[in-house]
């Protein structure tokens, strides 16, 4: 299907062209059924990522920003979690409809995920080297010696000093930044087409965060993979992402190229976020925050979920939930008054 060079055997999956998504989520609904009621965690979320592209999913706590990625990775515990509708396509094939064994292969070799907390993602009773070598032995059929060799190369590639010696250390012997590097090495061992990074630098100090973001963008360029970056940090999005999907109360409320979305927001929530952060480059007189607090996902308001906090809201917003509609090529906003927001912003 494509002339793009690939770094590994692609098996049965067709290789997408640049400009065609490698992973796409369509109209996904996920709910959590608890004794206290049903929480609509994700209410019709769609996004996709192309090879070599970085998509940021931006949202605050409770927005559902991690839920669609968890659905991709099969990490939603059921019960209480249920994917009630929607589809996930990897290289054009429906993942949710595929047999279990195929889903597992995609999740092992096609899409990787890294988390905020590397210590819980690494197994404390095995050495870091063993955990990486294991991947090469199971999935690539390498012998012990060669697997360790490759693991050492990989630790070196992610910037771990004296990588060969550190293969034999346990996760707790690594610092926070080094653990994050080790987790990235594990995630990239099988050269996935898509890497999902869920708040990868939130627990790290700013100087280490900068190192890790540089590493991720370097590796992405080298490997040509799609990167889905889930974060609450607008500056990280501005710095590394190509496109952004802004989430609020389980929905994507605005999406488009980062530069356009951040300089000319078409949804009042995006505009409010931009006005809530003080810039580093100059001193500001006062901030103009969004009023109120995010809604409880168990008791969403009728109409637009953002209406109770919105300065643009009218009666229509409290009756009719706006759909995510195209506002210009490559950009969409879920607001009845997006034109007004753009004029004011």
């Amino acid at each position: 299907m494509s002339e793009l060079p690939t770094t590994h055997d692609t098996g049965a999956w067709s290789l997408p062209r640049r400009g065609e998504p490698v992973l796409s989520v369509r109209d996904l609904h996920v709910e959590f059924r608890t004794r206290r009621g049903t929480l609509q965690a994700v209410r019709g979320v769609s996004w996709d990522v192309e090879p070599g592209e970085t998509l940021a999913i931006l949202g605050e706590s409770g927005s559902g920003k991690s839920v669609s990625a968890q659905a991709v990775m099969g990490l939603i515990d059921s019960p209480p979690g249920h994917i009630t509708s929607g589809s996930i396509h990897f290289r054009g094939r429906d993942l949710l409809g595929a047999p279990e064994v195929e889903q597992r292969r995609v999740r092992a070799e096609g899409v990787s995920i890294i988390f905020q907390d590397a210590l819980t993602a690494l197994n404390p009773v095995f050495t870091v080297g063993w955990q990486i070598a294991e991947l090469f032995r199971v999935h690539r059929g390498l012998g012990r010696r060669e697997a360790y060799q490759r693991a050492g190369d990989l630790l070196d590639r992610v910037g771990i000093p004296s990588a060969r010696q550190r293969l034999h250390e346990y996760p707790h012997q690594f610092s926070g930044g080094m653990r994050q590097r080790a987790m990235i090495a594990m995630a990239l061992a099988l050269e996935p087409d898509v890497l999902i990074a869920d708040e990868p630098t939130t627990a790290l100090d700013v100087t280490v965060q900068a190192q890790i973001m540089d590493l991720l963008t370097d590796l992405q360029r080298d490997l040509g993979m799609g990167l889905v970056l889930i974060t609450h940090d607008l500056a990280v999005v501005a710095d590394v992402a190509d496109r952004v999907a802004v989430m609020y109360a389980g929905r994507v409320v605005e999406t488009g190229r980062v530069r356009e979305v951040f300089t000319d927001p078409a949804h009042p929530y995006t505009l409010g976020l931009m006005r809530s952060i003080p810039p580093l480059e100059r001193r500001t007189a006062s901030l103009d925050p969004i009023r109120g607090t995010p809604p409880n996902p168990g008791a969403l308001p009728v109409g637009c979920a953002f209406a109770p906090r919105c300065a643009f809201a009218r009666d229509r917003c409290r009756e009719e939930d706006p759909a995510l509609e195209v506002v210009e090529a490559g950009r969409a906003s879920a607001c009845h008054f997006s034109e007004e927001v753009r004029r004011d912003g």
Binding site: L234, V236, T263, S276, P279, P294
Partner: protein, 343 residues
Amino acid sequence: MADPSGAGPLLSVRGLTKHFPLTRGVVFQRTIGHVRAVDGIDFDLDPGETLGLVGESGCGKSTAARLLLRLIEPTSGEVRYRGEDLTGMSPRELRQMRRNVQIIFQDPYASLDPRMTVGSIIAEGWEIHPEVMPRGRRKEEVGNLLERVGLERAHADRFPHQFSGGQRQRIGIARALALRPEVLILDEPVSALDVSVQAQVINLLEELQAEYGFAAVFIAHDLSVVRHISDRVAVMYLGKIVEIGDSEAIYERPTHPYTQALLSAVPSADPTVERTTRIRLEGDVPSPASPPSGCSFRTRCWKADERCAAEEPELVDRGGHGHPSACHYAEPADVLGVRRLGS
């Protein structure tokens, strides 16, 4: 001696040091070393001003906050409140001091007693300091405080778990303000909050400071928030202040390589620009249990040489840059300069 005139700094910190012992063994504990959490810091806090204290985890900024109130005992050094040394205070004097110096913690979930109503949490300080508020006016005043921090009078009868993180932080602020303190120590007060709520709390703190006139030590790792709120900024690294000065000077003309690297590491929230300077430090912060000889930053510093390994640089203004910096080779640099990206 106490300074009744009110002239001079409210808080004066000199050589403040806290070394935590590292022990081994369960029954026969022996000390095998010390973590130098705070390693000799000096600064003053003037009435009404806000001093930002920034640094990465493990730099000692939260330990410093606790030392300022003597919530933990310093290893050495002194903290003077209106001229009087906290370390020599009797329990009674200490109580009086703490009426005037209040603290707000990062975690609004852990710092409020879950079994007390919000009203009794806010009024609790008046039990210890009854002179601040006559008994008959307390209920009324709790309501006023709740309204002042953006909550409702009726919330006084509820419990902390019935509130969101941002609301709990407002309760913590009301509790601290109930005693009309002269100094507020804020230890990462907005770090646990979502961006939209964080901005509300920052605005509230600024309004309250204008109204009540307290001085503040604002501890945070978010350099944008610190710039927004602080008059002066102190940058900490491995238990020491490496640079201190007016906010403007620290952000526009930082002279210590660590300050420069720290600022350079923060991405800009404007996607149309790119920083012209890019400093990337290698490695992690060394362990405060075995800091490097000489300058503690030298293991990650691109300017380091033999002198830095041998001789610890003092926090002084070497080249007439206008503010002190603990670097032998202090030199101002504009690290926040940007260039506009083409489309």
